[in-house]
Every structure is written in C-alpha cells, then in structure tokens.
C-alpha cells in the first residue's frame, strides 16, 4: 500500500469510526472540546502507526483504547495540578474521576446525545450546521468551508464559538426527555434540511463536495430516523429529502440550466430514492395526525413523484396540502406555491386572485418567481400584454443569466 493509499484508507476508517468515538468520549468526559481533542489524538496516533503496522482488525476498538489512555493521562495530570493548587490553598477537594471504563460500553444513544448537543437551540443555525457536520458527519473544517463556500477561518470560528456557548449555557450532556425532545427536535431537523438545501442549490462547476451535502443530509436523516423511529417528522424530513434528491439528474439540462419540475424528463428520476421516500412518508403519516410541516412538504413532493407524466399530477390534492401547510407554517413562498397549485387545479382566475393578494408582500418584493407565476397565469387567461410585462419584470429580477433568457423568450411569445 502506498503512503497516499494508506492515508486515504485511514481517513475512510476515521469517517466511519469518528462519530461513535466522539459520542462515547462526550458521554464520559462531558466536554465537547476535550472529547474532540482526545479523538484527534487517537487519529494522529493511527496516522503514525497504521501505515507501517497495517490497519488493525478492529480499528474502532483500537482508536477507543488510545483515546481512553490519553483521557486517563490527561485527567490525572490535570488532577495533580489541581491538587497542588488546592494544597497551597486550604482544603483538599476530592476531584471525581470520570468513569473511563464506561467508554467501552455500547449504550446505543451516544450519537443521539451528540446530535441534541450539536443542534441545541442556543446555537445559531450556522453553528448547528457546522457542529453537526464536524461531529456527526466526520467532515473536517476545510471540507465544511469548501462545501459552504466560506473561509476555513469562518468555519473554525463558528465551531469554537459554538463549543464555548454550549459550555457557558451549561447544556446538559444528556438525551432530553420525551417532552423536551419534542421541543428540541425541530432545531435538529432544520440543521439537517439546511445541509440538504445547501447541496441542492449547488450548480454545475461547483466543488463536488457541494452536491455531496445532499447525500450527507439524507444519511444524517436516516441515522436520526433509526434512533427515533417513532418521531413522525424525522421520517417526514427523510421522505422530503429522498424525493427531492430523486430529481437531481433531471433538474439540470445539457448546458447546466435549471429544468423546472413540470418540464423534467421523468425517466431520469431516481426511482430507488422515490420508493424509499414514499416508504418514509408512509411511516410519517402513520405516526402523526395532524401532519407536521416536513411530512406535508413530503406529501406534496410525493404527488409529483407518483405522477407518471406532468399532466397526471393530482393538483387538487397538492392545493389541499399547501392549504394545510399554509395554516401550520405560513410564509409568502408557501402562499405563492399554493397559488400555483390552485391555478392548476381550479383554473387560472383563482390562482391569479391569490397571487394578487401577495403583491404587497414585502418579503417577495424582489422575488422573480412572483411576477413569473403571475405572467404564467395571465398568459393562460389570454391577457398577453399584462403577461409580457410580468415576464419582463421577472427577467429583470432574476440573478441567473439562463433563467433570464428563458423569461425574455416567454415575454416575446406573449406578443399575440
């Protein structure tokens, strides 16, 4: 094995083993920073020894035993230091030694604990995303930086600050009880979905790490679903991501342009992902009444996934699902999507009414899809000059050159 091959193999072992290693260390030492340092020490030891000695038969156990040895050394050294200081002072405090033997226990919820800590609501979204990818995805700081198009220093600082916030807020190193879990779960789901969307927004020519974020998010979702099999929204999120990811190949045209859902070549959809998504959706729907926001969005995505052609889309059902979504998670974008669905299901007049109600919405002021949808509905109603003006306005608002061309073509077609 060459040195380069060996280091790639060791990195692969690290990717597989590091989340569980960190999970167990965090449970026992109750400090994210210390846990991460100990895990890093073990990794460095592996890099030094494995290329010459070969990768051990059970690399996880090897890494854990090194980390454990380091943990004991470190704790005794610190305790000694504390002890000397105490003697200079007055009383000798007994320092309780962590139960290092417990590192070898497989308690089963280490990753869940880690996920709840990394996604604690005291942390900003960006911090939650960075910590989750680093702690549970085993991604390095440079990899996270490349994937999110920010500098390494920014990511490193986010992680340092996040760890400090967790320590200062005295976040308990425990899996929360059922009631608190329900409150805190949304911040985990949000972080995972942010990772997914970052990958989904990658375009041709981007670093391959960006689209790979979609798979990483799905993987994290599956890990979470395995640990919390009775939480409907976890399955709802997995379903939503699987179904959206099923369209990855179809949503990019031959010259890198964005292909809209209804124009996609459905033979390019990934039917394994769709089947997995529909199965996850079924689990979510069996568990929850009423449906949560991820389950509803997945149910909408599923309507498209089930239609063999765009013409077979069940628009009345999509409109009803958007209606439900608008009630539990109202937003101008949801409202705009509802307008599209209503327009398709019940005719362009009704769709246009909903779009016009959004015209004064500040959040959509510069959102090119608003005039674009309006143009589409006006065109269907034969109000061509108004439609043309709407498409031209949309073209002026979009940032994407190829989209602008397409909108201007549509505007030109509205001449009669």
């Amino acid at each position: 094995m060459s040195a380069a091959e060996a280091s790639r193999a060791i990195e692969a072992v690290w990717g597989v083993e590091s989340p569980r290693l960190l999970g167990a260390l965090t449970r026992v030492v109750r400090d994210l920073d210390v846990a991460e340092e100990l895990a890093q020490d073990a990794f460095v030891a592996a890099l030094a020894q494995w290329p010459s000695e070969g990768i051990p038969r059970n690399p996880g156990a090897w890494l854990m035993s090194v980390a454990k040895r380091r943990a004991i050394d470190r704790f005794r050294r610190d305790a000694l230091f504390e002890g000397k200081r105490e003697m200079i002072g007055r009383e000798l405090a007994t320092v309780e030694e962590p139960d290092f033997a417990a590192l070898d226990d497989d308690v089963g919820d280490d990753l869940l604990r880690l996920m709840f800590i990394a996604c604690h609501p005291v942390l900003s979204r960006e911090a939650r995303v960075a910590l989750t990818l680093r702690m549970l995805g085993g991604l390095s700081t440079p990899e996270i930086a490349r994937a999110f198009l920010v500098s390494e220093a920014t990511v490193a600082q986010r992680i340092v600050r996040a760890k400090r916030t967790i320590a200062e807020a005295r976040v308990p190193y425990e899996v929360p009880d059922a009631r608190e879990r329900a409150e805190r779960l949304p911040s985990i789901l949000e972080a995972i979905y942010l990772v997914f969307n970052e990958g989904y927004s990658a375009t041709a020519g981007d670093d391959v790490l960006r689209p790979a974020l979609c798979e990483e998010a799905i993987r994290l979702g599956c890990v979470l679903a395995h640990m919390l099999p009775d939480d409907a929204e976890v399955h709802g999120l997995v379903a939503l991501m699987e179904i959206q990811a099923s369209r990855s190949k179809a949503r990019v045209g031959p010259s890198g342009e964005h292909v809209l859902l209804l124009d996609q070549d459905r033979s390019r959809w990934d039917y394994l992902r769709i089947a997995r998504g529909l199965a996850a959706l079924e689990r979510a729907q069996r568990l929850a009444v009423p449906f949560g926001p991820y389950t509803l969005q997945a149910a909408i995505a599923a309507c498209h996934a089930r239609a063999r052609t765009a013409a077979e889309t069940d628009w009345p059902r999509i409109a009803a699902l958007y209606d439900a979504l608008a009630q539990i998670a109202p937003s101008p974008v949801v409202e705009l999507n509802r307008a599209v669905a209503v327009g398709m299901a019940f005719g362009p007049e009704l769709g246009l009414e909903l779009v016009e109600a959004l015209e004064t919405e500040r959040a959509l002021e510069n959102y090119h899809l608003l005039p674009s949808v309006r143009g589409d509905l006006l065109e269907k109603l034969g109000r061509l000059s108004e439609a043309r003006a709407a498409f031209e306005r949309a073209a002026a608002l979009t940032q994407n050159a190829r989209d602008r061309e397409l909108l201007l073509e549509r505007a030109a077609r509205c001449r009669f």
Binding site: R8, A9, E11, A12, V13, G15, V16, A204, G205, D206, V208, P211, A212, E215, E216, I218, R219, L220, G221, C222, V223, H226, S248, K249, V252, P254, S255, G256, L272, R276
Partner: protein, 124 residues
C-alpha cells in the same frame, strides 16, 4: 456517492440460504450509519432468464446457463463519502464461504457536473 456492491460466487450453494446472524448484524450496522439504500439476495441462477440482443428478434434463454461463472448472488446499494469508505466497510462483512464482492460506483450527479464542465471547456 453511491455504489453497487455485487456479491459473487463461482458456485452456488445447495439449498436455500437465509442471511446468517453475522450478516444480519452487518446490515443493521449499515442501516444505523445511514449507509444502506438497498440490500437483496437473489434466487438461484437456475431460475434466471437471459435475453440476448442483436440480429432481429431478441433471444430468450431460461437458466441454468452452461457457461455460468462469477454468479451474482446478491447486491447492496450503499451511499458513502468515498470508495475507500465502502471498501473499509465491506472488509468487515462476515463472508467466509468463497464469496467475493465487486464494488462499482454508480454514475451520479457529480459525473454529470464533470461532463458539463468538460463540455464547457471544450467549447471555449
């Protein structure tokens, strides 16, 4: 990245083969780590059908096939971060009856991006 992992044998074992406890536990680990997309064992090749094309109407042949070697006995579809990761995981698989696996990466979005990039460069 996604990978097709084909389990191959040179000779099929006699009688029905369910997954061993070791294999069940290996698969549970793949599910726990969010890596497993699909895993299936296949019925004996004698139950298989082969269709060959070319020269007009396709030819349909029922199994068993005279010249069968490297028989695919099952497969996994896994998602992982690198080929090395899948290789590492599969080395932990508890096969010991003469099976071997072949790991092939599925042509995915990244490759499409790569092709677009190459096309763009060729165009300029």
């Amino acid at each position: 990245m996604r990978f097709l992992v084909m389990v191959k044998v040179n000779q099929e074992p006699e009688g029905a083969q369910g997954p061993t406890p070791g294999m069940k536990s290996f698969n549970r680990g793949l599910i726990r780590d969010g890596v497993l997309l699909a895993a299936e064992g296949l019925q004996p090749i004698s139950q298989g059908v082969r269709i060959t094309y070319g020269g007009g109407k396709p030819t349909v042949t029922d199994g068993p096939f005279a010249e069968s070697k490297e028989i695919v006995a099952g497969f996994w579809i896994l998602q992982g971060r690198s080929k090395e990761e899948i290789v590492e995981r599969l080395q932990r698989c508890p096969f010991e009856g003469g099976e071997y696996v072949e790991i092939r990466q599925i042509a995915d979005l990244e490759d499409i991006h790569e092709r677009i990039k190459m096309k763009a460069q060729a165009g300029t």
